[in-house]
């Protein structure tokens, strides 16, 4: 039954992705950017679905099982404030510049703004290096979830293969339009199924009040922040969602907006979607501590699956698996496509001296997507599960690069030298903290509660400012293309 529901769901996603081809114009701009014609609702669903991963369904409940309600404050309310702010102050401005100057990728924008091909190459390497572990986590997460929900009757390799095959098909054929349509369906699926799962399980536990009463009796410390969340951690964790400002896949979706006002629904609806997804996940994790006690470490991440096993019919397990697949694929598709777009535009087109027909670029893009997913799948078969720890480091890297884009669009005095120095500082400090923190669970800087991202971001911003002031300002004709 579970497998049948998942297969039916994957078939539906594939059909929606492929159906979008009927609206395609067949041009390169359509495959890479959906002809910059995406309306408000699809833009919101796509941005939210791309940004949220399976962590918001399964990982959040596992984290709440260990830490308590503080997880919502730490991870959800920070996103609900920071992300709409970045859509408003950064996303809309980049959309306008992208439309005016014809950008398709972030690297094109930065190359043009700072008049440096080398800076573009450096940024390409950093952005891609940060995105690859993220892809791997999605592919491996799909396989592991399916194996868990089906009690191992579907092996991990088969689940990962399904995810890769479906994403590869609709991304290759539908391009960004297919991705946006499929994402819209998938985002609605995981929002609704998260809510259904919550109401079903809580009703079986005698209602929310009774379930929370049991937690208050068994583990009262989970219903407060107490010493499980340090105040400095709450403050500095807010830097993590700043990564949305530098994600290549989010940048790509910003450029697809039909007009500036298409963003309006996104910055109003995003915080509501965050609450709708995270509140059920966190509450299920907390009430699960009384219902399924004794889970230690990573085992707590299975709490939602265990609650379903215990209280819900098999059909709900199948639907939840579909919801998890939806959350995984709605990020994986955009990440894969953005890497394909960057490779074709920032490397192939940029370094080839003669012009290349758009159809050839699309073919190269498709081939790249296919190869990338094949390689990611192959690595997922041998990668250790500790790779999941890389997720937070991927966010840390992107968030630390945020000052670069803010300076590029708001500070005329930002220079090429400042930008390069900032990227190198971020890369160096990222490696330093990564090596220090890798084997220390819950690492914060000197145990103060300060997340490494806050230090790296601050240092990157400072170096950008100091070096920019010490180097020659950009030429006026260049600035006129970026500032009113």
């Amino acid at each position: 039954m579970t497998l049948a529901i998942i297969l039916a769901y994957l078939g539906l996603v594939l059909a929606v992705g492929l159906l979008s081809r009927r609206l395609a114009t067949g041009s390169g701009e359509d495959w890479f950017l959906a002809t910059r014609n995406i309306g408000p609702f699809i833009l919101l669903m796509t941005l939210f679905g791309t940004h949220m991963t399976a962590f918001s369904l399964l990982g959040a409940s596992g984290e709440a099982y260990r830490t308590g309600i503080g997880v919502f404050a730490l991870m959800a309310s920070s996103s609900a404030i920071i992300v709409p702010a970045i859509f408003y102050f950064v996303g809309m401005r980049l959309w306008r510049l992208g439309k005016k100057n014809g950008y398709v990728t972030q690297v094109q924008f930065f190359r043009d703004r700072f008049q440096s091909s080398g800076l573009g190459l450096l940024l390409f390497v950093v952005l891609v290096a940060l995105l690859i572990p993220y892809l791997l986590i999605g592919v491996m997460g799909g396989g592991m979830t399916l194996a868990e929900i089906t009690d191992g009757s579907v092996p991990k390799w088969a689940g990962s293969l399904m995810v890769c095959a479906v994403v590869m098909t609709y991304v290759s054929f539908g391009g960004l339009r297919g991705t946006a349509w499929a994402n819209t369906l998938q985002t609605m699926v995981f929002i609704v199924l998260g809510g259904v799962t919550f109401f079903w399980i809580v009703s079986r536990l005698g209602g929310l009040e009774a379930a929370l009463d049991r937690v208050a009796a068994d583990n009262p410390e989970l219903l407060i922040r107490g010493d499980r969340v340090q105040p400095l951690k709450l403050l500095t964790y807010a830097a993590i969602p700043m990564s949305v400002g530098m994600f290549p896949h989010i940048f790509m979706h910003w450029l697809t907006a039909r007009r500036a006002s298409s963003f309006r629904l996104s910055f109003i609806g995003y915080p509501l979607c965050v609450a709708a997804v995270w509140l059920p996940s966190v509450l299920l994790g907390v009430v699960g501590t009384s219902d399924v006690p004794g889970l230690r470490g990573p085992a707590a991440n299975s709490i939602m699956v265990l609650l379903i096993d215990k209280h819900a019919p098999e059909i709900l397990a199948g639907l939840l698996a579909a919801g998890v697949f939806a959350a995984i694929m709605s990020s994986l598709d955009s990440q894969t496509l953005s890497l394909g777009t960057m490779f074709t535009h920032d490397i192939v087109r940029h370094y080839r001296k003669n012009d290349m027909p758009e159809q050839t670029l699309v073919r190269i893009g498709r081939l790249f997507v296919l190869s990338l997913l094949a390689v990611t799948y192959a690595i997922s078969l041998v990668a250790p599960s500790s790779i999941f720890k890389l997720g937070i480091w991927s966010f840390t890297g992107y968030a630390s690069l945020l000052p670069l884009v803010v300076a590029a669009i708001y500070w005329k005095r930002a220079t090429r030298g400042g930008a390069i120095a900032s990227i190198l500082t971020v890369a160096g400090l990222w490696i330093y903290f990564f090596l220090r923190a890798w084997s220390v669970p819950g690492y914060t800087v000197a145990g103060t509660g300060v997340m490494p991202v806050a230090v790296i971001l601050g240092a990157g911003a400072m170096v950008l400012a100091v070096v920019s002031m010490a180097t020659r300002p950009p030429e006026r004709p260049v600035l006129e293309r970026f500032f009113r």
């Binding site: 407060i224 922040r225 609450a275």
Partner: protein
């Protein structure tokens, strides 16, 4: 104050309110949830309302870019 500055100010205030040290160890329940959770859910809703009220989109952005 420009609309953008107003949005920035409102979001900064909401960001400050996110650091609710005053509920840190409170175990009361409000609207059926622990108050430390209710506060943050209400904060999410307030961000949506604030963006709807104050975040104006410059419609000149729709046409030819400046």
């Amino acid at each position: 104050m420009t609309p953008r500055q107003l949005v920035l100010l409102v979001l900064l205030v909401l960001f400050a309110l996110r650091h609710d040290l005053w509920w840190w160890d409170a175990d009361d329940r409000v609207l059926g949830l622990p108050i430390g959770l209710t506060w943050h859910v209400l904060l999410c809703l307030t961000v949506a309302v604030a963006m709807a009220l104050f975040a104006r989109v410059d419609e000149t952005d729709d046409g030819e870019p400046s």
